[in-house]
Symmetry: C2
Subunit: 280 residues, 2 copies
């Protein structure tokens, strides 16, 4: 594991101390991981954040995908700016009061972020250390694809991570990458709260048929093998992605899909309760 | 742009010299880029590689996605090993004779690669410098998502890149990330050969209706604005992903989809001819 050599040891203690100060005010810190890109991690993240907010919790979101920061768009904060104060950066809030931090707030929308690994890690450390998150119930962290620098930085520098939620699609390649993400968590002793199967099926808007997009995979067997609770299954429906694109997560609406997401939230709350009271 | 400081200057010249020696034997080097993950870059890469091979060309593939190396699976080389020789590494070949190099050959299938940026860059440099590619017509490089270290390494170290092919889905967030990838290419003066729209539409296997999965996006307008040739559109069909999962790219079969891919190959060949003879 490539440990960053850019900080001297005493400086590292100082950084960790400051991060701990911010993070101690946040009850639960949950990272959304997938291994593979494009399985809908961002969509799941914003719907989880909104669902928890609708259940009355105070919620923050960190967009740890420095090279593809899509959270501002998905939470309707495309035009938001970050204000500074002597205590740190003030995170923009969406219409529901969710606090958000993303590299997307600092760059032009179409500007590529061509930072190397160490710079990316520094940005993520700043999101943990220099943002005035205040008292929160939940901090949700949208991790980038892969198992590289940004993910390791979060796992190394975020104290008391409650756990990760694994998002996957029922496709062989996605499941292999999900397995890698799980193995990484195991190596680093990070609890896995549960798995969400995204793009589970497609409903034809013309004939109503339910179609499995990836038909040859027995994902249930895999989940059983993983010994992780299934939090829920979300279908591939164009409304979900369209609403994400428009900054209005589908969970805000009252329909069949928002019920699916709400059921996931409630399962998650039970699971967190189990884990944090040591009944697991 | 974060330039790697790990090589002294004379060593850098030596590396570039050795890479040039290998790469001078390869006529066209094409990178597949998307910006966003999960838009089907790997599927497009393997189908392009097989299609070019079916047209009689000698083809190699570099899997530059160190954190999610899916190319070995998608080309049926899940169990292949890399042999060494005094001249370098011998790339495994699939049943069609396509030469392949991937970090996937060196790790356990489910082992996460938790290397930091500089290590990832070193692996990619080795793929260019230390693999006995021999004489090839085409080297296709499957880039990882984002605009980070591995992509910059390829762009910095690969001499005479013929150009990139942009893969995108008709979704707002994918198009923004695609725009970032294009801006990166523009900054670095890298030619863009064309764009492939993937997951363009879905065909219901029950009623045959053609459904746009992301209905609110006018991708044609965007492509026109980009001034890049559209090489083709590929539908979201479960056969494509299933066959990728099984290591049998769909283009090998004779059907409607393989015809779509073959048409893309032929458009690409015309486009390369235009660019390399300076008619663009």
């Amino acid at each position: 594991m490539g440990r960053s050599k850019s900080y001297p040891l005493n400086h590292l203690f100082e950084i960790r101390g400051k991060i701990a100060e911010r993070m101690n005010k946040i009850k639960y810190k949950i990272a959304i991981i997938s291994g593979k890109g494009g399985v809908g991690k961002t969509t799941i993240t914003v719907n989880m954040a909104c669902g928890l907010r609708m259940r009355g919790f105070k919620v923050g979101v960190i967009d740890a995908d420095i090279h593809g920061p899509d959270i501002p768009i998905a939470l309707g904060l495309e035009k938001a700016c970050v204000q500074g104060s002597k205590n740190g950066m003030i995170p923009p809030q969406n219409s529901m009061g969710i606090k958000v931090m993303s590299i997307g707030f600092f760059i032009e929308k179409e500007e590529p972020v061509i930072w190397s690994g160490p710079l990316v890690s520094k940005a993520i450390i700043q999101f943990l250390r220099d943002v005035i998150w205040g008292d929160l119930d939940f901090l949700i962290i949208d991790l980038p694809p892969g198992t590289g620098d940004p993910i390791l930085t979060i796992f190394r520098f975020l104290p008391n991570l409650t756990g990760v939620i694994l998002v996957t699609t029922p496709q062989k390649i996605a499941l292999i990458d999900a397995q890698k993400a799980l193995n990484l968590c195991k190596k680093l002793n990070i609890p896995v709260l549960g798995v969400i199967e995204n793009m589970s099926y497609f409903v034809c808007p013309f004939c109503g048929s339910r179609i499995r997009v990836f038909p040859n995979i027995n994902i249930d067997e895999k989940i059983e093998e993983w010994k992780i609770p299934l939090l829920g299954r979300i279908p591939l429906i164009n409304d979900i992605t369209s609403l994400t694109d428009m900054g209005q997560p589908i969970i805000i609406q009252k329909n069949e899909i928002s019920n699916l997401f709400m059921a996931i939230i409630d399962k998650l709350l039970i699971r967190i309760n189990e884990i944090t009271t040591g009944e697991n």
